[in-house]
Symmetry: C2
DNA sequence: TTGAAAGCGCTACCAC
DNA sequence: GTGGTAGCGCTTTCAA
């Protein structure tokens, strides 16, 4: 809005952007005919010579239809909006994410990622609503309040789907049951005889939504077994790991679930440097089943997380769009299982 | 296009999406006034009571302006389109990416990521052009031909910026000089007395655009020094690494630049398992300076890559948009330096 | 088989 | 101060 907004006096050498009217003029037909030809409208028959003239004119001018005008006229779009606060990291997640995008594309949706870092929940929801997406799939890092959902639905979104750990009112909640990850890890440690179990909580921001439920899951698993669970804050650097390892024996820990394989590798190295034997004195288990964990000695035990297929999820989105009134679905997106190697 | 496209007979319980006309009706004013108030248009003075009535009406209806209609009217948008074929991996890249998005937002652009996996170059360019972005910043994974650039510019894009390894005609090319990475790595190996230098080439798809230039850079560095460079294809799994290590002595290699730290860790483990001492018999150097590399024994030498600030790049984009006629800028986005630890 | 025209939601001129 | 209204580019009904 800061620059001159009317027409385009600052458009230089390049001639103005061609519209369907330009194509019509060049082809010597009406705009209606142009539309029919370029959209292959079946309800109307256009002679082959006309079709060719229109196509050639469009080609010559480099005509590309204006999506905004089109969806304004149609009254709806097929845009699926994916708000992302942070680009998700990790091969597991990004693989899933690519599949998901690809599958939505195949279903003829336009997938648009909208980075919403540093906006408050409601403000962000308004920004998304301005784009009039047919569906919003929140990846969970971007927060979404009941109020935000209301705004989106009022502005025409036919499906709001949250893909995370929380369960927001009025949405289809696809839950990544992070608790299960902590649960299977802790169960494994308990069953192999550990009694004082640490659970690493990353201090890095943005991970709380995973680490919290994982800790809770671990607590659940320990309940009634006589084992205790101890939260262990840890920054992802060597200094922090060293400090934690130095206090290890004071805390009398004999097992640890280290949030994921990366934190596990960091901590395991620090423990070994401190002279604490793994798995003899302390068992260590990570999560994500990274290849790198297999390269350590001892090889790192881990929780493998099987994520639902992107294609499957895309179909869920499609169904939610087509039948907005079906009961909000709520389903778990991941399954967790222990892969025992040598560190536990 | 597949479903009934006119009006919205399938919109159920929820009343129709409110427009500025609805707000005007409820507030008892004209649509023009609504627009003035909600946009804080300074050229026109509206009485305070009227302003309040309009605001309350908008609030009550849950009115959110329609971005497509707005930009159609304005004749331009402030959308910056970021086509992404694959979600970029690695903390370095994603940090940069987040900064970049955030900075563009601050400059009042709407940042939209458009996943274009599985489209051919020209087809993708048309899809982007339909959205009429003011700028397109290609991350390099999505290919962009001279033809594609032409389409985008014809459809009103004021800046097309490629952020990658290639230099596409007609764009502002921000080059990530991957060659430098290979060059400093190889130089380091040569200077520390290595003569038969392997360069790992990942077999995973999508990495060629990095690995190719890195290999070339290594070749450049070796030139005239008497050292030879040997390309080593490697898949990111233990089997492939084991096979490569088994052939190691036949190839008479005494140093290797392993593409990045992850491949380096994989390979180093395989070499050690094969009884090849590192760095005694063979030096190993990776790239990216991952924390995990420091945890190995020997600690992994690496090439640290300093990426330009996202904010800086966002300003470049802004300038390119405001002055589309300035000479295409071409600048290097990264600087590389060797971090020598124990593996080389 | 083709054309004329209405109208999607919005903003910015020009009257009053 | 406020309202009427044209028109951005497109699709689709209705008429010819």
């Amino acid at each position: 809005m800061s620059q001159s907004t009317d027409q385009s006096p600052e458009r230089p050498a390049g001639r103005a952007v061609p519209t369907s009217a330009d194509v019509a003029r060049l082809a010597g037909v009406s705009r209606a005919t142009v539309s029919y030809v370029l959209n292959n409208t079946s309800a109307v028959r256009i002679s082959e010579p006309t079709r060719r003239r229109v196509r050639e004119a469009a080609e010559e001018l480099g005509y590309v239809p204006h999506a905004a005008a089109r969806s304004l006229r149609a009254g709806h779009s097929r845009m699926v909006l994916l708000p992302t606060a942070h680009v998700p990291v990790g091969p597991l997640y990004s693989q899933f994410f690519n599949d998901f995008q690809w599958a939505l594309r195949r279903l003829d949706y336009t997938v648009v990622q909208y980075g919403s870092v540093g906006m408050r929940a409601e403000e962000a929801a308004r920004a998304w609503a301005e784009l009039r997406p047919v569906a919003v799939v929140s990846l969970g890092e971007a927060e979404l309040t009941a109020q935000g959902v209301e705004i989106l639905k009022r502005s025409g979104a036919r499906a709001v789907i949250t893909l995370g750990t929380q369960n927001v009112e009025g949405t289809h909640a696809l839950v990544m049951e992070q608790g299960r990850v902590g649960e299977v890890a802790a169960t494994h440690l308990v069953e192999t005889g550990r009694r004082r179990i640490g659970v690493v909580i990353p201090e890095e921001p943005g991970l709380d939504m995973f680490s919290g439920p994982r800790l809770e899951g671990a607590r659940r698993a320990a309940e009634g077994t006589g084992a205790t669970v101890v939260p262990l804050p840890l920054r992802y650097d060597e200094e922090s790991a060293r400090a934690l390892a130095a206090r290890w024996r004071d805390q009398d820990l004999d097992g640890v679930f280290a949030y994921n394989d990366e934190y596990a590798m960091l901590l395991m190295r620090a423990l070994q440097d401190e002279g604490i034997s793994v798995p003899g004195e302390t068992a260590v288990i990570g999560a994500d089943d990274l290849l790198l964990g297999r390269l350590l000695r001892p090889r790192l035990s881990t929780v493998a997380i099987d994520m639902v297929l992107g294609r499957e999820l895309a179909e869920l989105v499609d169904r939610a769009v087509r039948e907005p009134d079906t009961a909000p679905l709520s389903r778990s997106l991941l399954d967790s299982r222990v892969v025992r190697r040598e560190s536990s």
